[in-house]
């Protein structure tokens, strides 16, 4: 409550108005072409009083009589200060900014630095870049826009999640996701996804550990520093509305065969989920069980012919409404920003819904030498989707869809509740997998999450050269979930093969409380004319406290009543709590020489709660150099072609610690216990090294920033080399050691990479502007060493395929079993069966993160029209298609009809007549070509499903029109813009990938976070979205 009162006070102070004023007017034009510049901020210096120029570059402003200086600023232009004096009209010419020279960069711990003194590479993404297509999640809007950043959108449900990787991976089983910092406080990816994109002012991407080094143990993966809007500086009061509506449609389905239908081993079977029946002939055939006379439903008869797009039509068109209302303004020494957001979505799966609301109040206030700012936000959402453990086999929904044969008109089974319909459980055609519409109605997963975040920042200029800043933040996240499944029994006569589905209800609750505090003293000194020193000393403290519980009741007594009191048998439940704390002290010193050479040293020492006492303290050193060549060498000064050149070099060491409680092996209660009064525990499957300690990341980075033609074109380049050693890794020991994983410090990973960003304005005239930004990211992490006697660690594996860390190979590495081949690469077959032989071990089949990513974003503006697009191309990696693996069993794959369901001789195969002697196989066909070759032999060679993950995507396309200001000047509107927006409208995949989006991953659902590269039926088919947006300001 106190906090609210403070904020209200700040807002009211901000609304004060001046009394003694006069009016001034003027125009602002470009120094280069003389064209008017609309949207230039005109501000009375030292106040927040101001306006912006209209389309003709004109402005009109009431200024206090005592106002002395006007500040004109515009993105991409050098700001200009003009004395007011007695002048009433002004003609101002703005010059294009020499990018990178005077720009201020927000770096670790919120420290603002001039770009020229920064000794490592960062990249800023501003509001305009993020909200072009009105995204609902910020992460997806970053894809393709920042060199070194890989965004994997892991699924496309109504509440999707992304993986954020900066410069690839550095740890085998540890966290590789970038640190998220919001308004100065360490946040989480959940908090990042919860942000309303409209609220974000900009994101500063600190690409490497060096840039983030001051964050200590959280720094290893780089950081995204998010700043939310603080308030419009140039206007007194604005009310705005951002509204968008988008529709989501399935972009493409897997390629299915449509020649064969329901059956088994070549014979027609009316109740099969598989497509191993005879060739389609168009005759009418029974499908599903035979109903007895008088049942009230005729036995179902359908043509034995493929139903076009039968599975595609299961999915509906999803829709999302996303609206934000914001109030922003400022006055003397204060500003504020208030927003309310509302998002409602319906998914492509029937009944999947999502709703969220966001609230934000940000305010700043300057009181002499003291500056206070506060940002607060509240977020609440509710996800209601189909459950993920459907049927007696606990399968996901897409599985049921894929297990529907080609001649089934799936969308006609919607009426699943009606006992006299073919969709009803007893009447449904499929004897093995249930009607997916039934699944939607009888399995639900409902989650609610709330987040309350508050940050307070206090900055006090003790002396001209000495500043004290303190920051405190609290993040409180809590939520609850309900997951339930209805029971289903079957009429044994009609559905003899179905097992009853048991019911359950699972309730969960969780809460996470995170507190962070920082205090910094900054001193700036100048000496001997040429030298400067900026020294920062500070301390930081962090504490995060989690508590989560679930309780589950099985075999419910009253149908449709989902409360744990309704369960029979034993209630199952767990409570998990964890607490992690650390604190640290740090110092950062930047020594400057003549404002073109900067030397930076920083160090931080942390003490953490999660390692053993005595080895829980560690020191992070970093050093860097920045050299602005164009200012240092006279011959290069004022050069019209190369206007700016800076080189940087830096090196840092950071350490990662552990999650809480990991240093000890523990006992856990076995799920079967207690039996009466007898309880039973089992020893941790994971063994832990008694001397486990921190892991070390050392990064060296070289960077180059060039600006050409007054920096209308710029090039940023960086090269990095990262060595991670003493990796904290859950290795895979021999199971005979009595443990299935062994947590220890092992080996070494080495990552190298190059990032290039080339950007600029290709054309710029009075009415037309065309900007292009191309970024190139190439990085690869290689496992140098694991452990003596251990060459690989499985991140996830089924035994037949998996994602591994393999010595000498790029990480993560896809492995799968493969055909046995002769020295010429021909498949060796068994002379008896004609079946291919397979190697005993698994082969390395390639890495699962790209060789390189090219992002291209471009926008062209003509008068009020803007067309912008973002492409992203990734290649050089592979992924495992779980769905096509399953489609082989169901006989729905293209491969399964490639030999017309006949026995055939495997092309380019050989037989081994005597050891090492191979003779071309021309006459031994595979047996079981009708079915069993495909289901039991081909389907067992999992390398068949490892596919090229290359993809080119048109991630964003927007066409926007902003109404000319003179047209609306007579209306209450200050701004009206609207347009068409599209997301993932086009995707190009290589011919061999006919299944799904290679970006999808099971890492959100079943696999560990680093097991990138396995996806399929746990996600829905890929979607494309398109719609409209509108932005109005009053």
């Amino acid at each position: 409550m106190k906090k609210v009162a403070l904020l209200l006070a700040l807002i009211f102070i901000g609304l004060q108005v001046f009394s003694q004023t006069r009016e001034i007017t003027g125009t602002v034009t470009s120094a280069e072409d003389g064209g008017a510049i609309p949207g230039v901020s005109v501000l009375v210096k030292g106040t927040t009083l101001g306006t912006v120029t209209d389309l003709e570059g004109r402005f009109r402003l009431q200024v206090p009589n005592n106002a002395q200086t006007l500040v004109f600023s515009f993105v991409g232009m050098t700001s200009q200060e003009v004395a007011i004096g007695n002048q009433n009209t002004f003609r101002i010419q703005l010059k294009a900014e020499t990018i990178g020279v005077d720009e201020v960069v927000v770096t670790a711990l919120g420290i603002k630095r001039e770009k020229r003194e920064v000794t490592y590479q960062t990249q800023k993404v501003d509001q305009g870049e993020l909200t072009k297509i009105a995204p609902t999640r910020v992460a997806s809007a970053l894809a393709g826009k920042v060199a070194g950043l890989q965004i994997n959108v892991q699924d496309n449900g109504v509440n999707p999640s992304s993986q954020i990787l900066l410069r690839g991976m550095r740890s085998i089983t540890g966290d590789n996701s970038a640190l998220i910092v919001i308004d100065g406080s360490i946040a989480s990816q959940g908090a990042f996804d919860a942000l309303n994109p409209s609220d974000i002012a900009d994101i500063s991407v600190l690409k490497g550990a060096t840039a983030a080094a001051l964050y200590g143990s959280s720094a290893g993966n780089g950081a995204l520093i998010v700043t939310t809007k603080a308030g419009q500086a140039s206007r007194k009061f604005i009310v705005g509305v951002n509204a968008s509506f988008t529709m989501d449609k399935v972009a493409y389905m897997p390629d299915f065969q449509t020649e064969y239908g329901t059956g088994w081993e070549g014979a027609y079977d009316p109740v099969e989920n598989t497509n191993w029946g005879p060739r389609f002939d168009g005759t009418l055939r029974q499908i599903g069980p035979t109903f007895p006379e008088g049942y009230g439903l005729e036995t179902q008869i359908v043509p034995y012919a493929p139903v076009k797009d039968n599975l595609l039509h299961f999915f509906q068109t999803g829709q999302t409404f996303n609206n934000t209302v914001y109030l922003t303004g400022s006055s003397d020494n204060s500003s504020y920003y208030i927003s309310v957001g509302d998002q409602r979505a319906e998914g492509i799966v029937l009944d999947d819904t999502y709703r969220r609301n966001t609230f934000r109040v940000n305010a700043t206030k300057k009181l002499g030498k003291l500056e206070l700012s506060a940002t607060t936000s509240y977020f609440t959402d509710k996800t209601d989707v189909v459950g993920s453990t459907i049927g007696d086999q606990d399968r996901p929904l897409y599985w049921f869809i894929l297990n529907t044969s080609a001649n089934i008109p799936l969308e006609k089974y919607k009426d699943w509740q009606n006992p006299k319909s073919y969709g009803y459980a007893d009447n449904y055609y499929n004897a093995y997998y249930q009607n997916p519409y039934w699944a939607i109605g009888t399995n639900r997963n409902i989650d609610e999450t709330n987040r309350l975040n508050g940050n307070i920042n206090l900055s006090y200029d003790i002396l001209d050269w000495l500043n004290f800043t303190a920051r405190a933040s609290v993040n409180n996240v809590w939520g609850n979930g309900k997951n339930w499944r209805a029971a289903q029994t079957y009429n044994e006569e009609l559905q003899p093969a179905h097992s009853a589905v048991s019911s359950f209800v699972e309730d969960s609750e969780f809460q996470t409380k995170t507190y962070t505090g920082d205090a910094l003293v900054t001193g700036s000194f100048k000496f001997y004319d040429s030298f400067s020193l900026k020294a920062i000393l500070g301390s930081t403290v962090y504490s995060t406290d989690y508590r989560g519980s679930t309780i589950r009741a099985n075999n419910l007594s009253i149908p449709g009543f989902y409360d744990i009191s309704n369960g029979t048998g034993k209630l199952e439940g767990t409570v998990d709590e964890s607490l992690k704390r650390y604190y640290g002290f740090f110092g950062d010193f930047t020594l400057g020489y003549k404002n073109y050479l900067f030397l930076n040293f920083s160090g931080r020492n942390d003490w953490t709660s999660t390692l053993a006492k005595g080895s829980n303290s560690y020191f992070y050193p970093a050093a860097g150099l920045s050299f602005v060549v164009t200012d240092a060498i006279n011959a290069l000064k004022n050069n019209n072609i190369l206007s700016y050149a800076k080189v940087t070099f830096s090196n840092s060491t950071v350490y990662n610690d552990l999650a809480p409680y990991r240093i000890n092996e523990k006992y856990y209660q076995h799920v079967s216990f207690p039996f009466g009064t007898v309880n039973g525990f089992y020893l941790d499957p994971a063994a832990v090294d008694a001397s486990i300690t921190k892991e070390k990341i050392n990064t060296t980075e070289v960077g180059l920033n060039l600006g050409f033609f007054q920096s209308r074109v710029w090039l940023d380049a960086s090269f990095f080399n990262t060595i991670t050693s003493d990796l904290i890794t859950a290795t895979t020991p021999s199971v005979s050691s009595g443990s299935t994983s062994f947590l220890t410090n092992i080996g070494e990973l080495q990552g190298k990479g190059i990032e290039l960003t080339l950007g600029g304005s290709i054309l710029k005239t009075k009415d037309f502007k065309w900007d292009v930004n191309i970024n190139y990211t190439s990085n690869e992490t290689v496992v140098n060493e694991i452990y003596e006697g251990l060459d690989e660690v499985a991140i996830t594996t089924t035994g037949q395929y998996g994602v591994y860390a393999v010595v000498g190979k790029a990480f993560p590495q896809m492995k799968a079993n493969v055909y046995k081949r002769d020295p010429q690469g021909r498949i060796i077959v068994d002379p008896a069966s004609g079946h291919p032989l397979t190697e005993t071990g698994l082969a390395n089949l390639g890495k699962t993160i790209p060789d390189y990513i090219v992002g291209l974003s471009s926008s062209a503006t003509y008068k009020g029209f803007t067309v912008s697009a973002t492409f992203d191309y990734r290649t050089g990696h592979v992924y495992y298609e779980q769905g096509s693996d399953q489609m082989e069993f169901t006989g729905r794959s293209k491969e399964s009809v490639s030999a017309n369901r006949q026995d055939f001789v495997i092309p380019n195969s050989v037989i081994e007549t005597s050891p090492g002697v191979y003779v071309e196989n021309t006459n031994i066909p595979v047996s079981g070509g009708r079915q069993s070759y495909w289901t039991d032999v081909y389907n067992d060679v999992k390398s068949n499903y490892v596919k090229d993950a290359t993809a080119l995507k048109l991630r964003e396309l927007a066409v926007n029109y902003e109404l000319p200001r003179n047209l609306i000047s007579k209306t209450p509107f200050q701004k009206i813009s609207f347009g068409f927006i599209g997301r993932n409208l086009l995707t190009w995949l290589p011919a061999e990938n006919r299944f799904s989006d290679p970006e999808f991953n099971n890492t959100r659902s079943t696999d560990p976070a680093n097991a990138v590269g396995v996806g399929g039926y746990l996600q829905s088919p890929p979607t494309k979205s398109f719609g409209f947006n509108l932005n109005v300001e009053f």
Binding site: T677, V678, S736, G738, A794, Q800, S932
Partner: protein, 491 residues
């Protein structure tokens, strides 16, 4: 103000430093203990024992498939690998993995205890011997002397199978010594889900495990002296062998996760619905013919009799619909019977009394034991014990028939009769023992192989799991030939 801020910031640093000691002292897991007493370890270990025997696709399941006891009903693609004898590095690899990572791990915890808990330690040793033998019988050379050390040895070496066998007997002798000397030790109670803390029964069981180990080596040449020596040690120890079927039962009941594992897999779920395995699994044609041909009353106890009479399916049948469509649907075939599927609360059998008698009968027959009941009596007691367990009557009438492989006197080859009767007695209970016997003796003779087999006979061993090649590649031997390279006792 300036001064105040300066001091405040200094002060805050000092306060922070001072508070640090306690501030970081929060790394104790509130939800999971780092140590527990042995009475909380033992019942879990025994539940694991039951699971490795009776879970879906574990030892008993494997034995029933290999020994042609079980087949598959129409509508299920349940046992493709079993029917093809598709021994790969993933085929039944869970036997290896689960035994080490669950069962043996827990007994090894008990085996590390001090003299306060020497009874628990003895149980740990006995059960380790029980499980290590099963692993040797499936895999041959396995990690033993360096196994189960967890963080102490991530890549244990493989030891010679025969050497392991000999050490198991030594460990069992040591376990009996621990029991005899453990007067002041804490006695297990209800936490012992096998014998309820009756240590004299544990001694009998230790001897019975020895019996199993020794009999397994009885077909080897040059082993007689060793075996006789060991049987003498058992005789002089004097506790004798088990007197009842040995099973695990921590209190199995009709509750989720608390059902007997065999019932849970092949019987019904807690709501009373038959499981998929129940419907998918049925008798083979051969076993039904055999039981019918020997007038065996156990047929209706081992297999459930359908209303139209018993019907079995040949292993590996491809076309289920010729000549009669839907002839082999679950309702029409003989699924697993009521003598084996007794209920959710039944014991999980790990060693039957019948087997103990048949093992003794064989020892007598081979002249390794010369005192007590003779081979014929032991053989008949074995049959009687089998009838008793299955709930069948008429054992005496059955074994009194003048019928080869049924009546003792009528049987031309006594060893064949013992092994064949043991095969019937262990059907559905501990059928893996019959597979080992088959690999050792070739009995029962004339057992068909699956129609999908591409080899002349069934496999004689399993492949090492794939995981061993990736995580213990320097130690694991090359995969043996699963059809020709017998375990040492079968050579």
């Amino acid at each position: 103000m300036k001064k105040f801020l300066k001091y405040a910031s200094l002060l805050s640093v000092v306060v922070l430093m001072a508070a640090c000691q306690d501030f970081l002292d929060v790394n104790e897991d509130p939800n999971n203990p780092v140590s527990v007493s042995p009475d909380l370890v033992l019942p879990t270990a025994q539940v694991y024992t039951a699971n490795v025997m009776h879970n879906n696709r574990y030892l008993n399941n494997l034995g029933n498939m290999m020994m042609y006891n079980w087949s598959q009903s129409d509508g299920y693609a349940w046992y493709p690998d079993e029917f093809k004898y598709n021994v790969t590095s993933s085929f039944y690899q869970q036997i290896f993995n689960y035994s080490y990572s669950n069962t043996l791990k827990m007994y090894h915890v008990l085996d590390q205890l001090d003299s306060t808990y020497s009874y628990y330690r003895a149980i740990g040793k006995i059960m380790k011997a029980y499980h290590f033998q099963l692993l040797v019988d499936c895999y041959g050379n396995i990690p033993y002397s360096e196994a189960l050390k967890r963080s102490g040895e991530a890549t244990p070496k493989y030891d010679d199978a025969k050497t392991i066998y000999e050490d198991l007997v030594v460990q069992l002798t040591d376990a009996i010594r621990l029991i005899n000397e453990g007067e002041n030790a804490k006695v297990p109670g209800a936490d012992d889900a096998i014998f309820g803390g009756d240590m004299s029964k544990w001694k009998k069981f230790a001897n019975s495990v020895k019996l199993r180990i020794l009999i397994r080596q009885s077909s080897m040449s040059g082993r007689e002296t060793y075996l006789k020596e060991q049987f003498n040690i058992i005789a002089s120890e004097g506790s004798g062998y088990i007197t009842a079927d040995v099973g695990v039962n921590p209190g199995y009941t009709n509750i989720e996760n608390q059902q007997n594992p065999f019932w849970d897999t092949f019987g019904k779920d807690v709501s009373g619905t038959e499981t998929m395995n129940n419907k998918a699994t049925c008798a083979t044609d051969y076993i039904l013919t055999f039981l019918t041909g020997t007038n065996d009353p156990r047929i209706d106890r081992i297999y459930e009799k359908p209303s139209d009479g018993h019907l079995g399916v040949p292993q590996g049948l491809l076309d289920y619909d010729t000549p009669v469509v839907d002839a082999y649907v679950p309702e029409k075939v003989s699924n697993i019977g009521p003598g084996i599927l007794k209920g959710a609360n039944q014991n999980a059998i790990i060693y039957t009394l019948a087997e103990s008698y048949f093992n003794q009968a064989e020892a007598h027959f081979r002249g390794l034991i010369t005192t007590g009941d003779d081979a014929k009596t032991l053989y008949q007691k074995g049959i009687q014990a089998s009838f008793d367990y299955l709930g069948a009557t008429g054992a005496q009438a059955y074994y009194s028939q003048v019928k080869n492989l049924v009546g003792w006197d009528a049987s031309a080859n006594k060893l064949q009769a013992i092994i064949t009767q043991k095969w019937i007695a262990l059907n559905g209970l501990t059928a893996e023992q019959s597979w080992f016997d088959y690999n050792r003796t070739g009995f029962p003779a004339g057992l068909p192989i699956s129609r999908l087999a591409s080899t002349n006979d069934r496999p004689v061993r399993l492949f090492y799991p794939a995981g061993e090649y990736s995580s213990n590649g320097e130690n694991v031997p090359a995969q043996p030939n699963a059809f020709t390279e017998k375990i040492f006792w079968g050579k």
